[in-house]
Symmetry: C2
Subunit: 416 residues, 2 copies
């Protein structure tokens, strides 16, 4: 493909055409080979934001991006499930369900990214455990999944280099918000990871990349449809992100909540329900009977916690290091200035604050004492700040108390 | 401006916002300084194609582009008019009206581009006259306008370098068709040229960049509005380009038609009418009374032809060289294969053919014997090919004879 052919392709997308799958493969290959440059690709990306991509186009783009790098292979008889979250605040689902599903006897190979914007990253969280190694070589990752049933590692740089380059370009050129490009980016990394089945947890709400239910459902459907084009089993759950999912916001502080949840000591109802739904979907894809009951019993029996410890030990950490994780001592309480209902919790603001504090002390962060819609009295505790650098006023500003009880958001908007 | 600020600007344009004039100036300056790269600019250009630019934005962009290079200055009491065509086939208007208006006593400074695609360029045409120098240094150009009242020269490379760079980028990235970007590009070059008044001849139809009347009127209005933001007097004429304007298509062959028109030997009615309308608009801007009658009389008296000769002599050519221009001897007639009405003349195809032939012999080309809507008998002459390389079949294919008399197109769709 030369410059002229790429110009014609951009022109067609600009006019709203769907490009042939083989053309997308040619474009990505030419981009990686240097025959198509960043300027042409940026114009194409903006045309995609404008005109959208069909599922066939997004699948072709996904295929082309996967082909740009290495892929993992599991033994043919090994059923391996992966799980993806579109990114939220206090999203500890991966930390819980990876060992939970593995403890149910289904292999989970979780390849994860870093924190992005106000949302946390599973890898950053686990690295607060002394000794934990998230940078597993990919053969060691596969071997660990086969041996103990689960692993959580950072994506290899050798995976989907085209996505890395394209994402960096899109980030610079304000061409991120194209549903087709987002879906291709997500699925390409899952396909390269080698699992047969994927569960996508698409967050929806004020602190999510998808603000509306309609957008989130559209992305979830695209993720499932594209995965199926590759013969993979896929399910998606569209879950609420109008407030933090769990009680804790930060890096290490979220590992503490996940650990205590798995030990049965901090059983937030929303965290429990979403984790069970995600785990159930993963088990269903692996054709496990009565999946929800199984997951619930493995959670209660402590089997999931044992598997979590096993995972951490397999990756260089220890039970001692996990259990030694503790909140910073300095607590600054945030109290309600008035009585009323919790009308709004600005999870973006809280996520940004907690990430800033976590940079200074790994387990620093915020622990919420209230949920959206809770009735509070004047002076009642809303949250605790665990950081020497905390400014309680900023947390207070992020929690709005009003007169009317707000309409509650469902935890799960849709399952696909 | 850094990469982050540019990303925010692209984001706002992507969401449909109008950017502040000062921001456009910052963007262009940063692009020329290398702080904003081609990829970000390409994404911005596609967002402009998508969302459009307001007149205030287009004017700001124009101002920023003008500021990137040199500009011409005329003495304060010198009233200078410039004229622009959006590009057509057999468009000999500039060759006629520049000397015509100058012969009426109004200075005309015509800076011109090269041929683009299937359309001809005034500079290329004039260079078929032996000795003619279109590459005047800009001080010599200004001096000639002051001395003899007119000059036609190629734009200096020192004019609007930002437009040159941006146009090249837009061409590669399929982001040309943005009305605001097109208008800024055109007006910036006119402003840099230093004239006080501009007449824009916006072509409209199957062989024009603007296919529909609505698009052409919108561009014409934008050109006039942006010019007025700079305190320049401006008028626009939206004229037909569903068939070649004149009878001759090529490079030197169009100079021959213009010469003979000015000598009163080849008075095509459409050419005459459009030239008089354009000249009238130019004279009106210079506040000349009874402009149309004056232009018509100067045309008939031969005064315009004398001025044309004077212009050519001033730029290194001679009356002899002009009058020596002759068609190639080899004529291949193209005759009607059937009786009927001339339903369609494919000016794009004819323009491309003639440009190809002109590359081999400067005065090679096509001379049409019919107009759209003419009644023809079987065997009647449709056109003559003046080229040793002519393939009459290709010309024949470009002229469609049908049963029904087509609805005639007006010559002028709108004047603004």
């Amino acid at each position: 493909m030369d410059e002229r052919a790429m110009r014609q392709a951009i022109e067609r997308k600009r006019e709203g055409a769907a490009l042939e799958p083989s053309l997308w493969e040619t474009i990505v290959a030419a981009y990686m080979a240097g025959a198509v440059d960043d300027a042409q690709m940026a114009a194409m990306a903006m045309a995609c934001v404008w005109r959208g991509l069909t599922i066939a186009e997004a699948a072709a783009l996904t295929r082309a991006m996967v082909a740009s790098g290495q892929t993992l292979q599991y033994p043919p008889n090994s059923v391996v499930v992966d799980k993806h979250s579109s990114g939220g605040v206090s999203d500890i689902v991966s930390l819980v369900v990876v060992p939970l599903v593995a403890a149910c006897g289904v292999r989970v190979a979780k390849l994860s990214g870093r924190a992005l914007g106000h949302t946390g990253g599973t890898i950053d969280k686990l690295e607060t455990i002394a000794g934990f190694n998230a940078a597993l070589p990919m053969d060691a990752f596969v071997a660990q999944v086969e041996r103990i049933g689960c692993a959580i590692a950072a994506q290899s740089d050798a995976f989907v280099p085209a996505d890395k380059r394209l994402y960096h370009l899109r980030d610079r050129t304000a061409t991120v918000p194209s549903l087709g490009l987002i879906a291709s980016s997500i699925v390409s990394k899952k396909i390269a990871g080698g699992a047969q089945h994927f569960v996508f947890d698409v967050k929806c709400g004020s602190a999510a990349f998808m603000r509306t239910r309609a957008e989130a459902v559209e992305l979830a459907q695209a993720l499932v449809d594209i995965s199926r084009e590759f013969g993979r089993g896929a399910k998606a759950i569209v879950s609420d992100m109008n407030e933090p999912l769990g009680r804790s916001i930060g890096t290490g502080i979220e590992v503490i909540e996940a650990r205590d949840f798995l030990r049965g000591r901090m059983l937030d109802a929303r965290v429990r329900e979403l984790c069970l739904q995600v785990a159930t979907a993963m088990l269903e894809l692996a054709c496990i009977g009565e999946p929800r009951a199984l997951a619930a019993s493995v959670l209660e029996s402590g089997g999931a916690y044992e598997k979590f410890v096993e995972l951490i030990e397999a990756q260089g950490g220890s039970k001692h290091a996990l259990e030694a994780l503790a909140l910073p001592e300095r607590v600054q309480p945030v109290n309600a200035q008035r009585e009323g209902y919790v009308e709004r919790i600005d999870a973006v603001a809280l996520g940004n604050l907690a990430r800033e504090w976590s940079g200074k002390a790994p387990t620093a962060g915020i622990r919420l004492s209230v949920r959206l819609g809770d009735r509070v009295e004047r002076g009642q505790l809303l949250a605790e700040c665990y950081s020497a650098h905390a400014n309680g006023r900023q947390v207070q500003t992020a929690i709005t108390i009003g007169d009317a009880r707000p309409t509650p958001h469902p935890l799960v908007y849709a399952t696909l």
